[in-house]
Protein backbone atom coordinates (compact mmCIF):
# COMPACT_ATOMS: atom_id res chain seq x y z
CA UNK A 1 0.00 0.00 0.00
CA UNK A 2 2.88 2.34 0.89
CA UNK A 3 4.45 1.64 -2.49
CA UNK A 4 1.30 2.77 -4.28
CA UNK A 5 1.34 5.96 -2.26
CA UNK A 6 5.02 6.65 -2.95
CA UNK A 7 5.12 5.39 -6.54
CA UNK A 8 4.60 7.89 -9.25
CA UNK A 9 7.55 10.09 -10.17
CA UNK A 10 9.71 7.19 -11.35
CA UNK A 11 7.05 5.36 -13.32
CA UNK A 12 5.58 8.55 -14.78
CA UNK A 13 8.91 9.99 -15.90
CA UNK A 14 10.11 6.73 -17.41
CA UNK A 15 6.91 5.91 -19.27
CA UNK A 16 6.52 9.54 -20.36
CA UNK A 17 10.02 9.15 -21.68
CA UNK A 18 8.42 6.95 -24.39
CA UNK A 19 7.07 10.13 -25.84
CA UNK A 20 6.08 10.84 -29.43
CA UNK A 21 9.68 11.32 -30.48
CA UNK A 22 10.58 8.09 -28.74
CA UNK A 23 7.84 6.12 -30.46
CA UNK A 24 9.00 7.51 -33.82
CA UNK A 25 12.61 6.60 -33.00
CA UNK A 26 11.72 3.04 -31.98
CA UNK A 27 9.41 2.56 -34.98
CA UNK A 28 12.13 3.84 -37.33
CA UNK A 29 14.78 1.68 -35.60
CA UNK A 30 12.71 -1.48 -36.06
CA UNK A 31 11.95 -0.67 -39.69
CA UNK A 32 15.61 0.11 -40.43
CA UNK A 33 17.40 -2.64 -38.48
CA UNK A 34 14.72 -5.20 -37.68
CA UNK A 35 15.48 -6.83 -34.33
CA UNK A 36 19.22 -6.17 -34.51
CA UNK A 37 19.35 -3.35 -31.97
CA UNK A 38 17.12 -4.90 -29.30
CA UNK A 39 20.22 -5.76 -27.24
CA UNK A 40 21.07 -2.06 -27.13
CA UNK A 41 17.62 -1.20 -25.77
CA UNK A 42 17.96 -3.84 -23.03
CA UNK A 43 21.22 -2.23 -21.90
CA UNK A 44 19.31 1.02 -21.48
CA UNK A 45 17.36 -0.40 -18.48
CA UNK A 46 20.25 -0.10 -15.99
CA UNK A 47 21.44 3.07 -17.73
CA UNK A 48 18.06 4.79 -17.21
CA UNK A 49 17.78 3.41 -13.66
CA UNK A 50 21.20 4.55 -12.44
CA UNK A 51 20.76 8.05 -13.86
CA UNK A 52 17.22 8.64 -12.61
CA UNK A 53 17.79 7.05 -9.19
CA UNK A 54 20.29 9.81 -8.46
CA UNK A 55 17.57 12.44 -8.88
CA UNK A 56 15.40 10.61 -6.33
CA UNK A 57 18.16 10.77 -3.72
CA UNK A 58 19.05 14.35 -4.55
CA UNK A 59 15.43 15.53 -4.36
CA UNK A 60 14.56 13.60 -1.19
CA UNK A 61 17.70 14.73 0.68
CA UNK A 62 18.01 18.35 -0.44
CA UNK A 63 14.25 19.03 -0.86
CA UNK A 64 15.26 21.15 -3.85
CA UNK A 65 14.56 20.82 -7.52
CA UNK A 66 17.38 20.12 -9.94
CA UNK A 67 17.61 23.68 -11.31
CA UNK A 68 17.92 25.16 -7.83
CA UNK A 69 20.45 22.47 -6.87
CA UNK A 70 22.67 23.45 -9.82
CA UNK A 71 22.46 27.16 -9.00
CA UNK A 72 23.28 26.53 -5.34
CA UNK A 73 26.00 24.00 -6.08
CA UNK A 74 27.77 25.58 -9.02
CA UNK A 75 26.80 29.24 -8.99
CA UNK A 76 24.78 31.53 -11.23
CA UNK A 77 26.77 31.07 -14.48
CA UNK A 78 26.31 27.30 -14.66
CA UNK A 79 22.81 27.65 -13.28
CA UNK A 80 21.67 29.95 -16.12
CA UNK A 81 23.52 27.82 -18.66
CA UNK A 82 21.68 24.70 -17.50
CA UNK A 83 18.33 26.43 -17.16
CA UNK A 84 18.36 28.04 -20.61
CA UNK A 85 19.69 24.80 -22.14
CA UNK A 86 16.78 22.95 -20.49
CA UNK A 87 14.20 25.51 -21.62
CA UNK A 88 15.30 25.32 -25.25
CA UNK A 89 15.52 21.54 -25.46
CA UNK A 90 12.26 21.13 -23.54
CA UNK A 91 10.44 23.49 -25.86
CA UNK A 92 11.79 21.68 -28.92
CA UNK A 93 10.77 18.36 -27.41
CA UNK A 94 7.31 19.72 -26.67
CA UNK A 95 7.00 20.61 -30.36
CA UNK A 96 7.74 16.96 -31.20
CA UNK A 97 5.02 15.83 -28.78
CA UNK A 98 2.50 17.94 -30.64
CA UNK A 99 3.83 16.60 -33.93
CA UNK A 100 3.13 13.07 -32.70
CA UNK A 101 -0.30 13.88 -31.32
CA UNK A 102 -1.53 15.75 -34.39
CA UNK A 103 -0.18 13.17 -36.83
CA UNK A 104 -1.82 10.30 -34.94
CA UNK A 105 -5.17 12.06 -34.68
CA UNK A 106 -5.06 12.88 -38.41
CA UNK A 107 -5.29 9.13 -39.01
CA UNK A 108 -8.70 9.20 -37.36
CA UNK A 109 -9.76 12.28 -39.32
CA UNK A 110 -9.20 14.89 -36.60
CA UNK A 111 -7.55 18.05 -37.98
CA UNK A 112 -4.34 19.27 -36.27
CA UNK A 113 -5.78 22.53 -34.98
CA UNK A 114 -8.51 20.64 -33.12
CA UNK A 115 -5.96 18.28 -31.57
CA UNK A 116 -3.81 21.21 -30.41
CA UNK A 117 -6.81 22.98 -28.86
CA UNK A 118 -8.11 19.78 -27.26
CA UNK A 119 -4.74 18.86 -25.77
CA UNK A 120 -4.17 22.35 -24.35
CA UNK A 121 -7.61 22.30 -22.74
CA UNK A 122 -7.10 18.79 -21.31
CA UNK A 123 -3.69 19.67 -19.93
CA UNK A 124 -5.05 22.86 -18.50
CA UNK A 125 -7.77 20.98 -16.63
CA UNK A 126 -5.22 18.50 -15.29
CA UNK A 127 -2.97 21.13 -13.73
CA UNK A 128 -5.64 23.57 -12.62
CA UNK A 129 -7.44 21.11 -10.37
CA UNK A 130 -4.92 22.18 -7.75
CA UNK A 131 -3.43 18.96 -6.39
CA UNK A 132 -0.17 17.21 -7.29
CA UNK A 133 -1.63 13.85 -6.27
CA UNK A 134 -4.62 14.12 -8.60
CA UNK A 135 -2.38 15.16 -11.46
CA UNK A 136 -0.05 12.20 -10.76
CA UNK A 137 -2.81 9.61 -10.66
CA UNK A 138 -4.25 10.87 -13.97
CA UNK A 139 -0.74 10.73 -15.46
CA UNK A 140 -0.37 7.13 -14.23
CA UNK A 141 -3.60 6.27 -16.05
CA UNK A 142 -2.09 7.60 -19.28
CA UNK A 143 1.04 5.56 -18.48
CA UNK A 144 -1.11 2.42 -18.43
CA UNK A 145 -2.45 3.25 -21.92
CA UNK A 146 1.18 3.39 -23.09
CA UNK A 147 1.31 -0.40 -22.67
CA UNK A 148 -1.02 -0.76 -25.66
CA UNK A 149 1.97 -1.67 -27.87
CA UNK A 150 2.37 -4.97 -26.04
CA UNK A 151 -0.86 -6.62 -27.27
CA UNK A 152 -0.13 -5.10 -30.69
CA UNK A 153 3.15 -7.03 -30.85
CA UNK A 154 1.49 -10.34 -29.90
CA UNK A 155 -1.14 -9.86 -32.59
CA UNK A 156 1.40 -9.93 -35.40
CA UNK A 157 2.95 -13.20 -34.16
CA UNK A 158 6.66 -12.43 -34.51
CA UNK A 159 9.23 -15.23 -34.53
CA UNK A 160 10.63 -15.54 -31.02
CA UNK A 161 13.68 -17.47 -32.22
CA UNK A 162 14.52 -14.68 -34.68
CA UNK A 163 14.05 -12.04 -31.98
CA UNK A 164 16.44 -13.89 -29.67
CA UNK A 165 18.88 -14.84 -32.42
CA UNK A 166 19.10 -11.44 -34.11
CA UNK A 167 18.21 -9.14 -31.30
CA UNK A 168 19.86 -10.21 -28.09
CA UNK A 169 23.41 -10.76 -29.29
CA UNK A 170 25.26 -7.44 -29.60
CA UNK A 171 25.84 -6.54 -33.24
CA UNK A 172 26.22 -3.40 -35.31
CA UNK A 173 24.11 -3.91 -38.43
CA UNK A 174 25.68 -2.34 -41.50
CA UNK A 175 28.89 -1.57 -39.60
CA UNK A 176 29.91 1.72 -38.05
CA UNK A 177 28.55 4.60 -40.05
CA UNK A 178 26.86 7.95 -39.66
CA UNK A 179 23.39 6.40 -39.79
CA UNK A 180 24.06 3.81 -37.10
CA UNK A 181 25.55 6.43 -34.75
CA UNK A 182 22.50 8.59 -35.36
CA UNK A 183 20.12 5.76 -34.43
CA UNK A 184 22.14 4.73 -31.37
CA UNK A 185 22.18 8.30 -30.13
CA UNK A 186 18.51 8.83 -30.88
CA UNK A 187 17.68 5.69 -28.86
CA UNK A 188 19.79 6.83 -25.92
CA UNK A 189 18.32 10.32 -26.20
CA UNK A 190 14.83 8.97 -26.07
CA UNK A 191 15.57 6.88 -22.96
CA UNK A 192 17.44 9.45 -20.91
CA UNK A 193 16.75 13.10 -21.57
CA UNK A 194 17.75 16.22 -19.61
CA UNK A 195 14.13 17.06 -18.83
CA UNK A 196 13.77 13.74 -17.00
CA UNK A 197 16.44 14.72 -14.47
CA UNK A 198 14.68 17.99 -13.71
CA UNK A 199 11.20 16.48 -13.78
CA UNK A 200 11.77 13.54 -11.45
CA UNK A 201 13.67 15.56 -8.88
CA UNK A 202 11.01 18.30 -8.82
CA UNK A 203 8.23 15.70 -8.68
CA UNK A 204 9.94 14.03 -5.71
CA UNK A 205 10.05 17.42 -3.95
CA UNK A 206 6.48 18.39 -4.91
CA UNK A 207 5.26 15.01 -3.69
CA UNK A 208 6.96 15.61 -0.34
CA UNK A 209 9.17 12.52 -0.40
CA UNK A 210 11.59 12.16 2.51
CA UNK A 211 14.85 10.28 2.92
CA UNK A 212 13.04 7.29 4.46
CA UNK A 213 11.03 7.02 1.21
CA UNK A 214 14.15 6.63 -0.96
CA UNK A 215 13.98 2.78 -1.10
CA UNK A 216 10.42 3.01 -2.45
CA UNK A 217 11.53 5.74 -4.84
CA UNK A 218 14.24 3.37 -6.09
CA UNK A 219 11.72 0.59 -6.67
CA UNK A 220 9.42 3.05 -8.43
CA UNK A 221 12.32 4.15 -10.67
CA UNK A 222 13.43 0.58 -11.39
CA UNK A 223 9.92 -0.47 -12.41
CA UNK A 224 9.70 2.60 -14.58
CA UNK A 225 13.04 1.76 -16.28
CA UNK A 226 11.87 -1.76 -17.05
CA UNK A 227 8.48 -0.58 -18.32
CA UNK A 228 9.95 2.03 -20.62
CA UNK A 229 12.31 -0.43 -22.28
CA UNK A 230 9.67 -3.18 -22.46
CA UNK A 231 7.41 -0.82 -24.43
CA UNK A 232 10.35 0.21 -26.63
CA UNK A 233 11.22 -3.42 -27.35
CA UNK A 234 7.65 -4.27 -28.34
CA UNK A 235 7.47 -1.30 -30.71
CA UNK A 236 10.73 -2.37 -32.38
CA UNK A 237 9.35 -5.92 -32.64
CA UNK A 238 6.16 -4.66 -34.32
CA UNK A 239 7.88 -2.56 -36.98
CA UNK A 240 10.85 -4.94 -37.20
CA UNK A 241 8.46 -7.75 -38.12
CA UNK A 242 6.10 -6.05 -40.53
CA UNK A 243 7.99 -3.04 -41.81
CA UNK A 244 11.59 -4.19 -41.96
CA UNK A 245 13.41 -2.57 -44.86
CA UNK A 246 10.63 -0.03 -45.33
CA UNK A 247 11.66 3.61 -45.02
CA UNK A 248 9.67 5.10 -42.16
CA UNK A 249 9.47 8.83 -41.63
CA UNK A 250 7.40 8.79 -38.48
CA UNK A 251 5.28 6.62 -36.22
CA UNK A 252 2.03 7.86 -37.74
CA UNK A 253 3.19 6.67 -41.15
CA UNK A 254 4.18 3.35 -39.53
CA UNK A 255 0.67 3.09 -38.04
CA UNK A 256 -0.96 3.59 -41.43
CA UNK A 257 1.30 0.97 -43.03
CA UNK A 258 0.66 -1.46 -40.15
CA UNK A 259 -3.09 -1.02 -40.56
CA UNK A 260 -2.81 -2.53 -44.06
CA UNK A 261 -1.39 -5.75 -42.58
CA UNK A 262 -3.09 -5.83 -39.20
CA UNK A 263 -5.81 -3.25 -38.51
CA UNK A 264 -5.58 -3.56 -34.73
CA UNK A 265 -1.78 -3.40 -34.49
CA UNK A 266 -1.85 -0.23 -36.58
CA UNK A 267 -4.68 1.31 -34.57
CA UNK A 268 -2.92 0.49 -31.29
CA UNK A 269 0.23 2.15 -32.64
CA UNK A 270 -1.74 5.31 -33.49
CA UNK A 271 -3.49 5.44 -30.10
CA UNK A 272 -0.22 4.73 -28.36
CA UNK A 273 1.46 7.55 -30.32
CA UNK A 274 -1.17 10.05 -29.18
CA UNK A 275 -0.89 8.84 -25.59
CA UNK A 276 2.91 9.03 -25.75
CA UNK A 277 2.80 12.58 -27.04
CA UNK A 278 0.30 13.61 -24.38
CA UNK A 279 2.30 12.04 -21.54
CA UNK A 280 5.48 13.66 -22.80
CA UNK A 281 3.77 17.04 -23.11
CA UNK A 282 2.31 16.76 -19.60
CA UNK A 283 5.71 16.09 -18.03
CA UNK A 284 7.96 18.30 -20.13
CA UNK A 285 5.88 21.44 -19.73
CA UNK A 286 5.82 20.86 -15.98
CA UNK A 287 9.58 20.23 -15.85
CA UNK A 288 10.20 23.67 -17.39
CA UNK A 289 7.74 25.50 -15.14
CA UNK A 290 9.06 23.82 -12.00
CA UNK A 291 12.64 24.69 -12.95
CA UNK A 292 11.81 28.35 -13.58
CA UNK A 293 9.74 28.58 -10.43
CA UNK A 294 12.51 27.10 -8.28
CA UNK A 295 15.09 29.56 -9.55
CA UNK A 296 12.91 32.68 -9.56
CA UNK A 297 11.42 31.84 -6.19
CA UNK A 298 7.84 31.80 -7.49
CA UNK A 299 5.25 29.55 -5.89
CA UNK A 300 5.66 26.53 -8.15
CA UNK A 301 3.63 23.63 -6.92
CA UNK A 302 0.64 21.91 -8.46
CA UNK A 303 -0.80 22.17 -4.98
CA UNK A 304 -1.01 25.95 -5.50
CA UNK A 305 -4.05 27.46 -7.15
CA UNK A 306 -3.55 29.71 -10.18
CA UNK A 307 -3.89 32.88 -8.08
CA UNK A 308 -1.19 31.64 -5.68
CA UNK A 309 1.26 30.74 -8.47
CA UNK A 310 0.43 32.92 -11.50
CA UNK A 311 3.93 32.88 -13.06
CA UNK A 312 4.24 29.12 -12.69
CA UNK A 313 1.02 28.54 -14.61
CA UNK A 314 1.73 31.37 -17.07
CA UNK A 315 5.07 29.76 -17.95
CA UNK A 316 3.33 26.41 -18.31
CA UNK A 317 0.65 27.64 -20.71
CA UNK A 318 2.91 29.93 -22.77
CA UNK A 319 5.38 27.05 -23.35
CA UNK A 320 2.57 24.65 -24.18
CA UNK A 321 0.61 26.87 -26.56
CA UNK A 322 3.66 28.23 -28.41
CA UNK A 323 4.90 24.67 -29.04
CA UNK A 324 1.46 23.66 -30.28
CA UNK A 325 1.36 26.57 -32.72
CA UNK A 326 4.62 25.47 -34.42
CA UNK A 327 2.92 22.29 -35.59
CA UNK A 328 0.27 24.34 -37.37
CA UNK A 329 2.86 26.18 -39.51
CA UNK A 330 2.30 25.04 -43.11
CA UNK A 331 5.11 22.89 -44.61
CA UNK A 332 7.18 22.81 -41.41
CA UNK A 333 9.64 19.82 -41.65
CA UNK A 334 8.03 18.03 -38.76
CA UNK A 335 9.56 14.57 -39.19
CA UNK A 336 13.09 15.92 -39.48
CA UNK A 337 12.52 18.07 -36.39
CA UNK A 338 11.38 15.01 -34.43
CA UNK A 339 14.46 12.93 -35.15
CA UNK A 340 16.95 15.75 -34.71
CA UNK A 341 15.54 16.93 -31.41
CA UNK A 342 16.20 13.47 -29.92
CA UNK A 343 19.83 13.65 -31.02
CA UNK A 344 20.31 17.24 -29.83
CA UNK A 345 18.91 16.24 -26.42
CA UNK A 346 21.34 13.36 -26.04
CA UNK A 347 24.26 15.49 -27.22
CA UNK A 348 23.61 18.00 -24.42
CA UNK A 349 22.90 15.27 -21.86
CA UNK A 350 26.52 14.75 -20.66
CA UNK A 351 26.68 18.29 -19.32
CA UNK A 352 23.54 17.71 -17.21
CA UNK A 353 24.82 14.31 -16.07
CA UNK A 354 28.20 15.68 -15.00
CA UNK A 355 26.50 18.22 -12.75
CA UNK A 356 24.26 15.50 -11.34
CA UNK A 357 27.24 13.26 -10.54
CA UNK A 358 29.13 16.13 -8.90
CA UNK A 359 26.08 17.03 -6.79
CA UNK A 360 25.67 13.42 -5.66
CA UNK A 361 29.32 13.33 -4.61
CA UNK A 362 28.99 16.32 -2.31
CA UNK A 363 29.20 14.59 1.08
CA UNK A 364 28.38 17.82 2.92
CA UNK A 365 24.90 17.92 1.33
CA UNK A 366 24.19 14.25 0.68
CA UNK A 367 25.64 12.69 3.85
CA UNK A 368 24.93 8.94 3.91
CA UNK A 369 23.26 9.21 0.51
CA UNK A 370 26.41 10.25 -1.34
CA UNK A 371 27.23 8.22 -4.45
CA UNK A 372 29.14 4.99 -3.85
CA UNK A 373 32.09 3.87 -5.97
CA UNK A 374 30.05 1.67 -8.30
CA UNK A 375 27.45 4.36 -8.84
CA UNK A 376 30.22 6.75 -9.86
CA UNK A 377 31.86 4.20 -12.15
CA UNK A 378 28.60 3.34 -13.90
CA UNK A 379 27.36 6.91 -14.31
CA UNK A 380 30.75 8.24 -15.41
CA UNK A 381 30.92 5.42 -17.98
CA UNK A 382 27.50 6.44 -19.28
CA UNK A 383 28.71 10.01 -19.71
CA UNK A 384 31.85 8.85 -21.54
CA UNK A 385 29.93 6.56 -23.89
CA UNK A 386 27.51 9.35 -24.81
CA UNK A 387 30.34 11.82 -25.42
CA UNK A 388 32.19 9.27 -27.58
CA UNK A 389 29.06 8.43 -29.58
CA UNK A 390 28.23 12.13 -30.06
CA UNK A 391 31.79 12.75 -31.20
CA UNK A 392 31.70 9.82 -33.62
CA UNK A 393 28.46 11.18 -35.04
CA UNK A 394 30.00 14.63 -35.34
CA UNK A 395 33.09 13.25 -37.09
CA UNK A 396 31.00 11.10 -39.42
CA UNK A 397 28.93 14.18 -40.30
CA UNK A 398 32.03 16.19 -41.17
CA UNK A 399 34.01 13.33 -42.75
CA UNK A 400 31.48 10.75 -44.00
CA UNK A 401 34.15 9.02 -46.14
CA UNK A 402 35.91 7.93 -42.95
CA UNK A 403 33.17 5.46 -42.15
CA UNK A 404 32.52 4.05 -45.61
Amino acid sequence: MLFFIISGPGIVVMVADNDAGGITTYAATGAKYGYNLLWFLVILVPVAYYVQEMTVRLGAVTKRGHAEAIFAGFGAFWGWFSLLDLMLVNWLTLVTEFIGMTSSMKIFGIPPYLTVIGVCVLMGIMVLNGRYWTWEKIALLFCAVNLIYIPGAFMIKPSVSQIIGNGLIPNFPGGFNNELFFYLMANIGTTIAPWMLFFQQSAVVDKGMKEKDIPWGRLDTFLGSVLTVVVAVFIVIVTGTILKGVSIDDAAQASLMLMKTNKYAGTFMAIGLFDAGLLGAICISLASSWAFGEVFGWAHSLNNKIREAPWFYANYFVTLISAGLVVLIPKAPLVLITLFVQVIAVTLLPAALVFLILLLNNKKTMGDYTNGLWQNIITTSIVLVIVVLSSLYGISTLFPQMFK
Binding site: G75, V343, Y393
Partner: protein, 57 residues
Protein backbone atom coordinates in the same frame (compact mmCIF):
# COMPACT_ATOMS: atom_id res chain seq x y z
CA UNK B 1 3.83 48.46 -18.34
CA UNK B 2 6.15 46.39 -20.52
CA UNK B 3 9.09 48.43 -19.30
CA UNK B 4 8.12 47.76 -15.68
CA UNK B 5 7.77 44.06 -16.45
CA UNK B 6 11.31 43.89 -17.87
CA UNK B 7 12.78 46.09 -15.11
CA UNK B 8 11.26 43.86 -12.44
CA UNK B 9 12.55 40.73 -14.06
CA UNK B 10 16.05 42.09 -14.63
CA UNK B 11 16.12 43.09 -10.97
CA UNK B 12 15.03 39.54 -10.11
CA UNK B 13 17.85 38.11 -12.27
CA UNK B 14 20.36 40.36 -10.48
CA UNK B 15 19.01 39.14 -7.12
CA UNK B 16 19.40 35.54 -8.23
CA UNK B 17 22.97 36.19 -9.38
CA UNK B 18 23.76 37.74 -5.98
CA UNK B 19 22.06 34.88 -4.10
CA UNK B 20 24.05 32.23 -5.95
CA UNK B 21 27.29 34.17 -6.32
CA UNK B 22 29.22 31.68 -4.17
CA UNK B 23 28.83 28.04 -5.19
CA UNK B 24 28.40 25.47 -2.37
CA UNK B 25 30.55 22.94 -4.12
CA UNK B 26 34.20 23.76 -4.27
CA UNK B 27 35.65 23.04 -7.67
CA UNK B 28 39.31 23.16 -8.47
CA UNK B 29 40.49 25.22 -11.41
CA UNK B 30 40.92 22.18 -13.66
CA UNK B 31 37.39 20.90 -12.88
CA UNK B 32 35.92 24.29 -13.82
CA UNK B 33 38.03 24.39 -16.99
CA UNK B 34 37.03 20.81 -17.89
CA UNK B 35 33.35 21.63 -17.40
CA UNK B 36 33.65 24.73 -19.55
CA UNK B 37 35.47 22.76 -22.24
CA UNK B 38 32.80 20.05 -22.13
CA UNK B 39 30.03 22.61 -22.49
CA UNK B 40 31.57 24.33 -25.50
CA UNK B 41 32.50 21.03 -27.08
CA UNK B 42 28.90 19.83 -26.80
CA UNK B 43 27.61 23.12 -28.17
CA UNK B 44 29.98 22.64 -31.11
CA UNK B 45 28.48 19.19 -31.68
CA UNK B 46 24.97 20.68 -31.54
CA UNK B 47 26.12 23.26 -34.09
CA UNK B 48 27.14 20.35 -36.34
CA UNK B 49 23.71 18.81 -35.90
CA UNK B 50 22.03 22.06 -36.83
CA UNK B 51 24.28 22.21 -39.93
CA UNK B 52 23.28 18.65 -40.84
CA UNK B 53 19.62 19.52 -40.28
CA UNK B 54 19.85 22.53 -42.58
CA UNK B 55 21.59 20.51 -45.31
CA UNK B 56 18.79 17.94 -45.19
CA UNK B 57 15.99 20.52 -45.57
Amino acid sequence: MLRNFFNQNFAKVRDINRKYATPNIEMSGWVKASLLFLRFYLIFLVGLLVYKFITLL
